[in-house]
Amino acid sequence: MQKEAAIREPLILGHKSYHDITEDVCRPIEDKAPKMWYILFGIALVVGLYGIGCILYLLGTGVGVWGLNKTIGWAWDITNFVWWVGIGHAGTLISAVLLLFRQKWRMAINRSAEAMTIFAVFMAGLFPLIHMGRLWVGYWVMPIPNQFGSLWVNFNSPLLWDVFAISTYLSVSVVFWYIGLIPDFATIRDRARKPISKKMYSILAFGWSGRAKHWNRFELVSLVLAGLATPLVFSVHSIVSFDFATSVIPGWHTTIFPPYFVAGAVFSGFAMVQTLLLIMRKAMNLEAYIHTKHVEYMNIVIMVTGSIVGTAYITELFISWYSGVEYEAYAFINRATGPYWWAYAAMMTCNVVSPQLMWFRKLRRSLLFTFFISIVVNIGMWFERYVIIMTSLHRDYLPSSWSMHYPSPIDIGVYIGTIGLFFVFFLLFARFFPVLALNEIKSILKGSGQSYKESPDYYKNH
């Protein structure tokens, strides 16, 4: 057990005992789901199914059902892809990087952040698949032995790097998440009364018995995985940014992209975590574990990454002028003043101005304000990708090919659909999985709990 300064705000409020924690986390799983869950699940399912319908129509008819054209080969599809991948960034950052830095507050949020990551990456992965003209031969991007005259993939293509980056990221994230879940599943298994759920959870718990040996291995694996996952935090979005950075299109062809994309991803990922957790803590009575302090920490991350992103935007603008490259300069003039100025303005306001408000302690500790900003940030980050992808393409080198992009109903349907599907997954997670890493939380109870902070001897007497 670690000693922590008393003046630090406690991470667990109230006089919780170990048992209380178990109860708090397991209750929502063991009780009947509240009506609200069914309502939300119903809405998410309908929206998700509508999205699936749109995708099926798209696959049946052709990519032409989207609003793309000869000039703009990617718009909402890849915007959504990058947006979701970005959102999927916070999970690994929280679980891996914060673990390595021994940030205790991460324990309240890492489980749901990781879950969010995985579901977001699912959604993200969908887009590169369905944006293909011929999905049925999409497996050709895999370097697998074949009989087409032993055709190999093109290792020069950043799109191929994407395939590797995303699939690695997804598999490591899933493993990491699952390893963390094992002791918690075991707790639920031990408490389960109904035979079916007992059976299910015992399968999921992988025969965890809570022996010291197990704990020892658990900690080791977590550390190893954290070490493995940390580079991934930087690699995934760097590689996603290579899709653009290695191209010749003004506005895409920018060396600043990798760090800028990573910062943006963390920025949007944390915002999404905020959005989800602020609702979840209320709905699932987890206010004692996820409270103002956690929100404040996350807001600081948002503020810092938001500032990095803002700096990147301004650097880009400066360089476009400083480079003296006619096309580069025009790409940015066009972004700011061309027909899509409103998207650029939305991006600037949401991503550069709004996080700066977090300098005010009062604002960054306001849950309502945080909720609002978290949504603003995710809107802003969607626009950022839209601005980068679309405004660069719509007016590139030859003015004869300049074009406009208008989304079709299917574009919108697929996007909204993925949000629906994401929530279907997330709600199922909240219903059947321990949303807090309860065994990890317990490890900080005696160091960071309110009871300990108020009287360090509290737990000796209880």
């Binding site: 080969g73 990617w74 590169p128 003209g133 011929r134 799109l159 006619e326 080198y397 090919s401």
Partner: protein, 1066 residues
Amino acid sequence: MADTKKYWKGIDELNDTKAFQDSKDVEFPEQNNSLENFLADDSLNESSTGRRDFLKFLGFSVAAATVAACEAPVIKAVPYVMKPENVVPGMATWYASTYYDGSAFASILVKTREARPIFIKGNKDFGITSGSVTPPIIASVLGLYDSERLQEPMKSGKSSKWSTVDSEISNALKTSKRVVLVSNTVISPSVLSSIEILKSSASGSFDHIQYDPISYSGIRNAHALNYGKAMIPSYDFSKAKTIVSVNADFLSTWLMPTQFATQYGETRNPDSEWMSKHFQFEAVMSVTGSNADYRGMTKPSEEESVLRYILDKLIGKPASISKGLKANADAAVTSLKISGEESLVVCGTNNTGLQQLVNEINNAVGAYGTTIDLYNELNLFQSEEGKMLDLVDSMIKGSVPDVVLFYNSNPVYSLPNGKAFAKALKTVKTSVSLNSHGDETAVACTFMCPDHHALEAWSDFQPTTKHYALAQPMITQIHNTASALESFVVWAGVAERVGKTSTLAYEKIKETFSDINGGNFDLAVHNSCVDLVSSTIEETFSFSSASISKTPKFSKGVEFVAYQKTAIGAGNHANNPWLNELPDPISKVTWDNYITMNPVEMTKAGYATTYDQENGLSLATITANGIKLTLPVYPLPGQALGTVGVALGYGRGGHGEKIGKAAYQTKEYGGYITDKNGNPKSIGENIFPMIMSSANELTYANSAKVNKVDGEYIIAATQIHHTVMGRHSIVRETTKGIYDSNGKESYNPAHMLQTIDADGSHVEKPVSEFDLWDAHPVENIGHRWGMTIDLSSCIGCSNCLVACQSENNVPVVGKDEVRRGREMHWLRIDRYFASAEEAAVGTRKDKDTFSFSAAEIAALNPKVVHMPMMCQHCNHAPCETVCPVAATTHSNEGLNQMTYNRCIGTRYCANNCPYKVRRFNWFNYPAYKKFTEINPAQDDLGRMVLNPDVTVRTRGVMEKCSFCVQRIQSTKLEAKKEGVPVADGKFATACSDVCPTNAIVVGDWNDIESNVRKSSEEKRSYQALEEIGVKPNVWYKVKVRNEENDLLSKLQVDKKAHHEPSHKQH
């Protein structure tokens, strides 16, 4: 006796051998034996095939059977049972022939594959058109496979038989008092003589009226007044050092563009001894106007004053003209004076008075005898609209002939009072149409007796006094049609109807040929033409002045010009999907006609001046001759203020006629947009009823009222941004003066980059010396295919675009998809207007004050550059590196090649293409319902036009220009068969093949003697977007305009002067 007969089945039975004895009771000898043998084979038991192996085999067989069941349906290729002579499957056969559709004439070569005509190009070796064609000629091959072409004779709208139809028509002719035959200008001596036969067999009077929708009677009448003979002389633009054209779009639609484009092209080479100076005075920006060195925005009512001013100034009389036109008119006068008899003045307005003025000017400069040849007159366009209008008037008044025949003529559509005529036509006892479709006129007739398609029939033509041309059939008649020549003779009762095997037309033409003394007939067929020895009659013409006839009068207010578009012309080809989808060379709009108006005026009047896929143009009504039509208003820079233009040839077949599947508006998800009667709606509006018709002349202009109305109309254009934004690395333009007296660095400077040399100091080096990548091993090894495109020669005619579509099976996608920016053309022609911020297209006036928003708007009367753009086959192709599956790769001959089978459709390559030339198959064009009406590939007959050498692409794959790789391969194979290296000039892409001005040169760049190599190394050659370092295999050549441009010369010449000293300081 019966017992003595012995029947036997084989020699064995006859001899009753042992083998026969053994086998005679076994019914299925082989099968039984083999099965028994198989089962009795002991080695089977010893086989190593155990249970596991058996299961493996079973599993494999089931899987294999399943997989086999999933195979695509097998489409059977039926081989020749008897191989026709001269047809080698897989090998193309070319035939020389001649195209004439009543308005355009050209000597052509037709490519056939397995006896299917699939491609048309000009015949460069023979004929008077020197290989030049127009888009409608190239696209006419598609008309052969039009499934809505009449397939058999019809009587009162019902199928009939030739025997029935023939007897009824000849009976009607025998008993009639008055017969009228309306045709377009017939230049076929054989058809004319068959009409004579028909005429002589008629019992009553027989009139043959020649009537063309576009008339040139003004020229004929003016020559009648000035030279005593109604004629159109031959014009030779190649000799004209000064060309003045008043409203004549001679490069695209006026008179003989197939001759003029090539002649004009010869005078536009800045490297030759002299370069012509071209002045254009016109209201609607035409293809010709866009190429002019000086272009004056001229109202139809000002044409007279322009001509009078030029004439008066030339003969030294005082003259005045409106301020806006003075500068150009003065320059034209000066230039005409300098070039004297080597000048040519033409006028496109059909009016005797104006044409007399033109004759006066041409006479004053002495053009007759040099650029104008009176002794080789043009036989085309003999329209007698006076006679036609008389007939129409009398018919409307009730005096109708007993029999009216229509041959290649559709007056119900093209007459100003066509509707009334159609009504009167219904009262005619016997009316016969020989037109190929159930068009506006045909459906008003009792009989439809469809003629063959031109590619199915023998034909002959005498386009000029000294030229005789032949057309031969490439294919047996697809439908039960009959040649018009034969029909006339049959109806005269002189011959019997034979059917498909009829040789009547052939015999008749052979007869005509021997009459005119043409020489060897087979040779003439091979060449498709013969030049005739000048006729023995020695006429001499001399000019005599005559008082100028009445010129068109316009009332105050808006004047409107009815012009022809390159593709649709007067409406003959309104059903051709390739032509409908061909972007207008100036407006870049497809599938529509519209009112053109100057954007400056539109802004004042509150019209929308920009448009894209979701934002349409404003609508307006146009009223003339008491007829009111609603059309969208298109912002066309260069349109004379106070005028509007509307294209002829649209609004066809909207009343239930069947003029072709692609002639109507279609809905977003397929099917036609229909009117309240359920008839499919035609595309655009017919404006023939609005033109000016005086007693004996049709003038294609009028006064009109234009009023903005509420509503928006979405237009499908392939280009929605019209200027080049001062981007000098895309378009380079200079003047003849600068070009002649300055070096490359002034008008065609290399892009310089800073680098550090061996001494560590900063130096500037051209971008071509920098390279991020290893060079592809294509230089100096084997072939490396390259292309140069001369922007000076390119006139924007769009032949290349249609030829490419035809050669490469490029799908037609229709208006809705074009509007979404998804046209599939592999080759496009970028058209850039200069903005007020540019001194010339692509050159900024002032780098410091340059305003991007102002540069987006075209100037009031802008300079224009046409820039054909297709895959640049970059040696460092950005598309190649980004494809995850290596579907697009570089060939060892320098081609950027696309492997459709491998493509998974990520579109990354298209995004990363700086030239945006890649085209994605958004839908399954050959099958999806949206394209059923418009894509010929969805039609069993239409599909026959597809080039079997080029894959039809499936949904979800990328495609683009391949440099006609199929042609490269066949050229190489030909050379290989002959055992010689590929000679320069043997390989031509479809685009270079049909270029009338030879602006496109292709060849092997590694061959240092090749034209393309030399061309690419000329001073004017540059690579578009050179600074991004993609190293294209396509070079463009600086556009040189023969004008004075002080600002440009200041910018280009002074910059050099400024640049060099500063360079030395380093």
